[in-house]
Symmetry: C2
Subunit: 353 residues, 2 copies
């Protein structure tokens, strides 16, 4: 597992070290836009079976790397494994996203929850990571991830995805103490989970804060960012003799980049609405930036994709600290050949140090 | 119609003139959270019948003013009346939002569209405004509104509300020229529509850009804000001897306030994610600000509502130029007595000039 990396561009860029070309990976790169993914998903029977079977999770993790010269693999899993391991009963309704059989709705539900042991209830995740590392054989780094405490709490209280997330936003104003108890517990669970992922071979980790963007500025700092910072502070930051970079991604968080940069994270993931050139001016030398091509660009012709990719590279400009990515997950309807065009376009531009 | 206003706080605040207390109105103040609205809506048979019958539209416009000491009435209508008048066939599916029978999907669909005559195809709107003005009898000002060109185009191309609005975002990258043709036409239609509303008695107007926030910074400036500015430049700005203030509201537009402030609008509507104190620092003396209580606060107890309302007032601070509102439309599940608590809380605070 300590074999040296053949391609360490991702790790270097996340730490703002010089790289010859900008590394690229794609959020949801293992996913429904790939026919081989759909075949494996079919074989697994259900999405959760796919996540829970290390051989299958490993297989779909590696699929995009066989097609495209991506600079990283990312564990195939779901952001909601932690609440599932807490006993909430995660399941998926086709075309409607995740749901919980047992949402938490009040103080006693919340106080009955415990922190899962990652090497027990979430063993399928660490097993998958070990297997993927073995199969990767040092080709590219492997990224581990978790949902943010706030995002986990949003689904746990609401019971499902929602346009408004009314229940948790009501709880926030009506009984903030109870919500803080839940977030405290989740921060501990996320910390343990990500540290177990690092010990199992994750060489970088990312925290997805899918729903932080629904909050007021004040509430974002108090209920989302504060708990991400707690996690960042407790993460194992060096493993196998290298620094393990941590990236925070808040969808809709473009207004709060300065605050995110102060958490001690190594990099910020940007959604596509933020101008990456302005973002860089705002965060200065503090952190690297990951992003942020509009995922809808991939519907356009390869020629347009190349042009838009070059715009992002030019907007970031010279100097270290850029990991290319989409500003959100790739859409299921994208033609894989368009992804190839994107990856090649990014790699064709020589990066000035 | 030229009767002087008994309460002109709204107009004064929008023009950054001193007021004794901060005026307040509430987005979707005429709506499903009111039992009397639900009764009238039932009587109308369909949502579009309610919009298209001036007597009923007038009735629901006035309902919230009978309950709460609001500082403005806003025309009851839908943001999609223009594309409906263009022949796209607007209809509503219960719980799923607006849809069009005939979405526009290609260059020839788009080039076949014409600009509706507001005093003909949209006569029901101007008739409603005249009736409401008569009934208001100068009690408070009447606000007219329209969807923004970008927001109208989003629904027209997509055919319905959507999580991703993939079709229009693809069109934007693949064939921007055709999209610009559509937006040009819509800017002209919105201008004519709002000017007709002003001539029919609207004393302030607001443009709702519900979907501008899904764009990249560059695309927002080019495809949304540019066309709102075109509208602003062509609006009738004085009527009945008073300035007619125009407010621009882009949901998710907190990153672009400086640019919005440069369009020549009088005020910016803020969604709840933006800190109003920071917003004020960013736009300076250029424009007034409208907003921006998190609509979810209204689920909390009256005591908490009062506290959060006072926080917004304090965050805006002393000096003119604040119109209190929610950061988005009121949710249908809110208890009307909570709205009363909010309105009273805002009016209880004496405003330093």
């Amino acid at each position: 597992m300590s074999a040296s990396l053949k391609n360490d561009r991702l790790l270097r860029a996340l730490l703002r070290q010089p790289v010859g070309v900008t590394p690229i990976w794609i959020m949801r790169q293992a996913g429904r836009y790939l026919p081989e993914y759909r075949a494996t998903r079919e074989r697994a029977g259900s999405f959760m079976n796919l996540c829970r079977t290390p051989e299958l999770a490993c297989e779909v993790t590696l699929q995009p790397l066989r097609r495209f010269s991506l600079d990283a693999a990312i564990l195939f899993s779901d952001i909601l494994t932690i609440p599932d391991a807490m006993g909430l009963g995660l399941y998926f309704v086709e075309g409607e996203g995740p749901r919980f059989e047992h949402p938490v709705r009040n103080r006693s539900d919340i106080h009955a929850l415990g922190v899962p042991d990652p090497e027990n209830e979430l063993r399928y995740v660490t097993d998958a990571l070990r297997l993927i590392r073995h199969e990767l054989d040092g080709a590219v780094p492997l990224i581990g991830f978790s949902g943010s405490p706030w995002t986990l709490a949003s689904y746990m209280v609401e019971g499902r995805s929602s346009k408004e997330f009314t229940r948790i936003r009501s709880l926030l104003y009506e009984d903030p103490g109870t919500l803080h108890d839940l977030l405290d517990l989740l921060a501990e669970a996320v910390t343990r989970y990500l540290n177990a992922q690092i010990l199992a071979g994750a060489q970088a980790v990312m925290i997805f804060d899918t729903w932080g963007g629904m909050l007021t500025s004040g509430a974002y700092l108090e209920f989302s960012l504060y708990y991400m910072q707690k996690v960042v502070e407790e993460l194992i930051r060096e493993s196998e003799g290298r620094r393990v970079p941590v990236t925070l991604f808040t969808k809709g968080g473009g207004q709060w980049l300065e605050a995110i940069a102060r958490t001690g994270c190594d990099a910020i993931g940007l959604d596509w609405t933020t101008d990456i050139s302005e973002a860089r001016q705002r965060v200065g030398e503090k952190v690297a930036l990951q992003g942020n091509l509009d995922p809808a660009v991939l519907y356009a012709s390869p020629e347009k994709i190349v042009r838009e990719a070059h715009k992002i590279l030019a907007a970031f400009g010279a100097g270290p600290g850029h990991v290319f990515n989409l500003g959100h997950g790739i859409h299921p309807g994208i033609d894989p050949s368009h992804v190839a065009a994107l990856v090649d376009a990014v790699h064709q531009v020589r990066k000035d140090a």
